[in-house]
């Protein structure tokens, strides 16, 4: 944390105490969301670039044919990885993903997996041969709330992912045969706790000022939750957060559906 951020922390905390935010948003207001679907459609079967305020994340979907998990022999496989690219922040370093990146990937993965958004049974090809869906999260500019940006971009990309043509046991790259079966839209909503108040979609400065964060991914049910940060929540705060998460997810789902 640089000195500027450190000094801003007090300012942000005092603002939130009086019900205001550093960028004049309401406590339960998301930053402006811009989604560019099929951003790199020349190669990737699916992709979306999201701008959430100053945050910029590119999610690409790749498809390959491989072996299923031994305990689920008749289902396709999905795997999610995240990379915090060094261009996104001076504190991100090159190298294999560390705990922050792994947390983002796992929380996004859980929301999609547990809501059964991808119909994995339809990705079965023949015995010992299934489609593998790779969700690659590429963080390009870190302006706070990377989990929501990644999760929203991931499901937007999946919704418009093309299936590569598969003939005579080979994938024909560049030719398509229908769409990836996706049944619902799980949306993660992260709230940060600053001086006993909960704020939706914390920006970077707010994240530094936050005691703790909670991410709740919902469809028509809750599908994934993650509390993070040194601080703690009270039971009634969690309950309130769940309510807000459902409400906000609906708004974002409408943005995605309108694309």
């Amino acid at each position: 944390m640089d000195i500027e951020t450190y000094l801003k922390r007090d300012y942000i905390t005092n603002l939130v105490k009086s019900g205001r935010r550093i960028d004049n948003r309401k406590l339960d207001e998301f930053r402006y969301i811009k989604l560019e679907r099929d951003y790199c459609d020349a190669k990737a079967p699916g992709s979306t670039l999201i701008r959430l305020g100053n945050t910029k994340v590119l999610v690409g979907i790749s498809l390959d044919v491989g072996e299923p998990y031994p305990d689920r022999p008749d289902e396709g496989v999905m795997t999610t990885s995240a990379e915090l690219r060094p261009v996104a922040s001076p504190i991100f370093e090159a190298g294999p993903p560390r705990e922050d990146a792994i947390e983002i990937a796992r929380v996004v993965d859980r929301g999609i997996r547990e809501s059964k958004a991808i119909d994995l049974e339809k990705l079965f090809i023949e015995e010992n041969k299934v489609w593998i869906v790779f969700i690659d999260i590429h963080v390009l500019d870190h302006g706070g709330n990377l989990i929501d940006a990644s999760g929203i971009a991931a499901i937007t990309a999946l919704l418009n992912t093309r299936m590569p043509r598969y003939e005579d046991n080979t994938i024909i790259r560049g030719e398509w045969d229908g769409k990836l079966p996706v049944s619902c839209i799980p949306v993660p909503v992260t709230q940060a706790k600053i001086s006993d108040k909960l704020i939706v979609d914390p920006c970077l400065d707010e994240e530094y000022a936050a005691d703790a964060k909670i991410t709740i991914t919902t469809t028509d049910t809750i599908n994934a939750m993650q509390k993070s940060g040194d601080g703690a929540f009270k039971s009634d705060e969690i309950e309130r957060a769940v309510g807000v998460a459902f409400e906000k997810a609906k708004e974002i789902r409408n943005i995605i559906k309108k694309l």
Partner: protein, 239 residues
């Protein structure tokens, strides 16, 4: 799907309709990222390249510091979804080599003596790749560095030439790169007319090399004009 024995030139035109000495469409912009000192985005045909500069900043570990100049490190990275078949994340031998030659080319024009004991890191992200990424990367890296305010003796511009179906052509795209006979990427310091990067693989006679080399430099000069224009535009104050 491209066949092994496909014709790359039909009726005197290339597969994408270009003339032999024609560049693909190129778009450039700078200052596209919030948390870097300088950044640039280049679309070159279907290539999409993002570059960002951190520094001059403290260099760790300490023994890497140079008391006479800044240490410039350029890192080239391809997104897993940037190519047809998913690329495993992390550096491979190809990207390490490209990082090295790009670092050396940029280091030739950056006034590194001005910031001794520091490190300057240039990160290049290939978001979509379609042949010629090293040229596009070096063009983006050089724009990002200029955008960061780092003193530079010159820009770096780059372009490739190659041979397809027996003809020398400019700026190969994917099919031409895969099934052509030769690829010759060249990066230049345009104001000083110096070659700062040159690689070649394939088969060329001495005459063909001369022709391809001149064509590549001519292409790089055209890219240089676009770079200059982009930087000047970015400095204009909006009313």
């Amino acid at each position: 799907m491209v066949k092994q024995d496909m014709k790359l030139i039909v009726d005197g035109k290339r597969l994408d309709g270009r003339r032999f000495d024609e560049l693909r469409e190129i778009k450039m912009s700078v200052g596209v990222l919030n948390r870097t000192n300088g950044s640039a985005y280049v679309e070159w045909g279907k290539n999409k390249i993002l570059a960002g500069v951190h520094g001059p900043r403290e260099l760790h570990p300490k023994y890497l510091r140079d008391p006479t100049k800044a240490v410039l490190t350029c890192t080239y990275n391809m997104a897993p979804f940037s190519v047809d078949e998913r690329k495993k994340p992390g550096p491979d031998r190809r990207s390490v080599e490209i990082s090295k030659v790009i670092s050396e080319a940029l280091g030739h024009v950056a006034v590194l003596e001005k910031y001794p004991n520091t490190g300057i890191d240039v990160f290049v992200e290939v978001l979509q790749a379609d042949a010629g990424t090293r040229c596009a990367s070096i063009v983006a890296a050089s724009l990002a560095m200029a955008n960061s305010g780092m003193p530079m003796r010159d820009m770096i511009s780059a372009c490739a030439a190659g041979k397809i179906d027996g003809e020398i052509v400019l700026d190969l795209m994917k099919e031409e790169d895969n099934f052509g006979e030769c690829d010759l990427p060249v990066a230049i310091s345009p104001r000083r007319k110096e070659i700062v990067l040159l690689q070649m693989d394939g088969k060329l006679t001495r005459e063909e090399f001369k022709k391809a080399y001149r064509l590549a430099i001519d292409g790089a000069m055209r890219v240089y004009d676009m770079q200059k224009k982009t930087l000047i535009e970015s400095m204009k104050i909006e009313e």
